[in-house]
């Protein structure tokens, strides 16, 4: 029995949804009750869906005056105690960078979805691309840890958005979802589980009393507990380098402690965060590394390669950041080569190359976006990698 009443938070059942709709529904299922966004192709459907649904659930969806305001508003709403999210594409993603850094510095849980499109600049508004991957890692100034998830289907748009909210609460930081125009606009079956089957990570509110609680004192997992504004803790939160009290501290020691922890928060917990899908990598000659929409075109290559006598395995990155270093290092000991298939001119390619440490060949099948590489093109790279 499929629920489709707009007033139900979780529409349990089977649906035929566009990726963007599934992403919005995943957010709602995760408890997101605040959305601030700005229209941009190909992400506008997310905003539209949230606007249709949130008011019935006691939430708020607001179209802000620009993407910068959207990013900042979701930080404010999160501190106000509500799970919050925004969605955009490349040009908006660029605008949001400064305040993504603010969210990292404030250690503020929230989710930012980037439905990637042809880039750079205005690029291809209605066509897919995957060229924002490195920007997701390095986009804001300074060093900080990043978590970015990459759905390959509307089903994953739903599931990974729930995961993104959970990770944002667990690690007290903004989490990125890197979807793309193809996955965002394709319509497929999405199964929404019953509410009690959807596991949510609750906000880690402190148990300490006001006066004893330090907003940036980390726990053993390097993540501090949180409070919401209005709970009586009289916290101070700033984008300046700060100490455990949250007070600005311009010293070398405070900068070292803080930045090291912001990066280590992810680096040292990477094993808990990284998710990949490995297929047939055990005896593979060549492993194809891809993510998102580009992972959907590998099947024909595997079949054709098998005809050529090459065993092809697939390493699909579900979390792009932190990067699945251990997987690549392990595989580089065994395989002849990697082929990285991505819709950009080489971004994850360099990560794979770095981790392979010249133990295996690494070739790139690039595509600038707005289309997909042909099976022949990928196959020729696979053959090259198998030599």
């Amino acid at each position: 029995m499929t629920s489709s009443d707009k007033r139900d938070a979780i529409l349990t059942g089977e649906h035929f949804w566009q990726g963007n709709i599934a992403l919005a529904e995943g957010a709602i299922a995760a408890g997101c009750r605040f959305f601030a966004g700005y229209p941009i192709t190909p992400a506008s459907e997310i905003q539209e869906r949230m606007t249709e649904r949130l008011p019935f659930l006691g939430g708020t969806a607001i179209q802000m005056e620009d993407e910068i305001a959207s990013m900042v508003a979701i930080l404010g709403a999160s501190w106000g105690g509500v799970k919050s999210m925004t969605a955009t594409s490349g040009p908006g993603f660029s605008l949001m960078m400064e305040n993504l850094g603010l969210g990292m510095m404030m250690e503020c849980p929230c989710v930012l979805a980037n439905v990637m499109r042809g880039a750079p600049s205005t690029g291809l508004p209605t066509h897919w691309g995957q060229a924002d991957v490195m920007q997701a890692k390095w986009g804001s100034h300074g060093d900080y840890g990043v978590i970015a998830l990459c759905p390959d289907s509307p089903q994953e748009c739903f599931d990974l958005t729930v995961e993104a909210f959970n990770l944002s609460e667990q690690f007290r930081m903004p989490v990125l979802i890197l979807s793309d125009a193809a996955v965002g606009h394709m319509t497929e079956k999405v199964v929404v589980p019953p509410a009690d089957k959807i596991k949510l990570y609750p906000r880690r509110l402190t148990k300490k009393k006001p006066g004893k609680y330090l907003p940036f004192q980390p726990g053993p997992d390097l993540v501090p507990d949180m409070v919401n504004a209005g709970m009586g803790y009289r916290i101070h939160v700033t984008g300046l380098t700060h100490d455990e009290r949250g007070y600005p501290d311009m010293s070398e020691a405070a900068q070292d402690r803080l930045v090291r922890r912001l990066v280590d928060k992810i680096r040292k917990n990477a094993d808990k965060i990284i998710r990949v899908e490995e297929k047939n990598t055990d005896n593979a000659d060549v492993v194809v590394v891809s993510y998102g929409i580009s992972s959907r075109i590998i099947e024909p290559v595997i079949e054709r390669a098998a005809q050529e006598g090459i065993k092809v395995g697939v390493l699909r990155l579900i979390t792009i950041w932190p990067f699945a270093e251990k997987y690549v290092r392990r595989l580089s000991e065994r395989v002849k080569g990697f082929v990285v298939v991505e819709l950009n001119y080489g971004q994850i390619f360099y990560e794979v190359e770095r981790c392979a440490c010249a133990k295996a060949k690494v070739l790139l099948q690039e595509h600038m976006g707005g289309g997909i590489p042909t099976t022949e093109q990928i196959l020729s790279k696979v053959i090259g990698a198998a030599k």
Partner: protein, 309 residues
């Protein structure tokens, strides 16, 4: 490199260096006394704004645990760090959308934005006009010292024509913003301007604005002797205060279009606008109940009103 020792023991909240001894000053419980004295220069007017706001908050009947202050970047932006409320020191120009997010997420909060002229109407100008347009229920306090003080004295959108600044060494030739006019035309329902001399009236304006349901804007004309006053032969902070004494004219409900401030000449202060209009949350609720639920009642058999959080 010497390691700065910070408390690992959270039980006693020891702070280093030791806070100054508390005295009987009436607003000390609203200040982060472990960070006083503040960084503002002798003769700066920002401390007066903080003082008046603290006194106004104490005299209001607001639950101070639910009052939140949001500031941007700049000298005035440092206010968030000195006031002992839930305080957020955000990025340059973005205090207002942050405050909007806070308020919409938790309408029980009283949200105050306290920032400077450059932060609020230069880089933050877009957010300013839209929050005023929406009539978001926040109180925006702008300390207008006609300059970008923190970064060394660059020109601001409110710097008067002919004034010298570090980026207008031959005199500013750009027309200056008239902030009450900007606020009123964007839709603010309470707009007032006072100088730092008019402390009692400023305190009263704060109380009025905090009680107002909608977008309130208070401009505080303040001295910046270090970067603005020095370059424009305005002397010390005290000299500037004497200038305000001579040249400010209290004129309630004056025409905001006539409230321009020049390098010399009169400064009109007072309340420009004080009216009632449904706030953003009011119109959102109305939309939900009247348009959305009515629409759903027509298309779906289940008819029930969901209470807004």
């Amino acid at each position: 490199m010497t390691e700065k020792e910070l408390p690992q023991d959270t039980s006693g909240l020891e702070v280093t260096p030791a806070p100054p001894a508390l005295t009987g000053h009436p607003v000390e419980d609203l200040l982060r006394m472990d960070r006083i004295p503040h960084i503002w220069c002798p003769g700066c007017g920002i401390g007066i704004g903080v003082n008046a706001l603290s006194q106004a908050l104490k005299e209001s009947n607001l639950n101070l645990d639910k009052v939140v202050i949001v500031s941007g970047i700049g000298c005035t932006g440092r206010v968030a760090g000195y006031v002992r409320l839930d305080s957020f020191h955000t990025t340059h120009g973005r205090a207002i959308p942050f405050a909007t997010g806070l308020k919409l997420a938790n309408p029980e909060l009283t949200v105050i934005v306290f920032s400077g002229d450059g932060d609020l109407v230069a880089i933050g100008g877009n957010h300013f006009i839209h929050a005023a347009r929406r009539n978001v229920d926040i109180t925006v306090i702008c300390v207008n010292n006609f300059i970008y003080g923190m970064t060394g004295g660059q020109v601001s959108p409110t710097t008067p024509v002919h004034a010298k600044s570090s980026t207008t060494p031959y005199g500013n030739f750009e027309p200056a913003f008239n902030l009450p006019h900007l606020a009123v035309s964007s839709g603010a329902i309470y707009v007032a301007r006072w100088t730092t001399l008019h402390v009692r009236r400023l305190k009263q304006s704060f109380k009025d604005a905090l009680a107002k349901r909608g977008f309130s804007f208070i401009e505080i004309i303040a001295p910046c002797p270090t970067t603005y006053g020095r370059r424009n032969a305005m002397g010390t902070g005290l000299d500037t205060m004497r200038y305000y004494r001579e040249n400010s004219v209290i004129k309630h409900f004056a025409n905001p279009e006539e409230a321009d401030i020049g390098l010399t000449g009169k400064i009109i202060v007072g309340k420009f606008v004080d009216k009632e209009k449904p706030s953003y949350t009011d119109i959102m609720q109305y939309n939900l109940e009247v348009s959305m639920l009515a629409d759903l009642a027509k298309t779906s058999p289940r008819i029930e009103k969901k209470e807004k959080k």
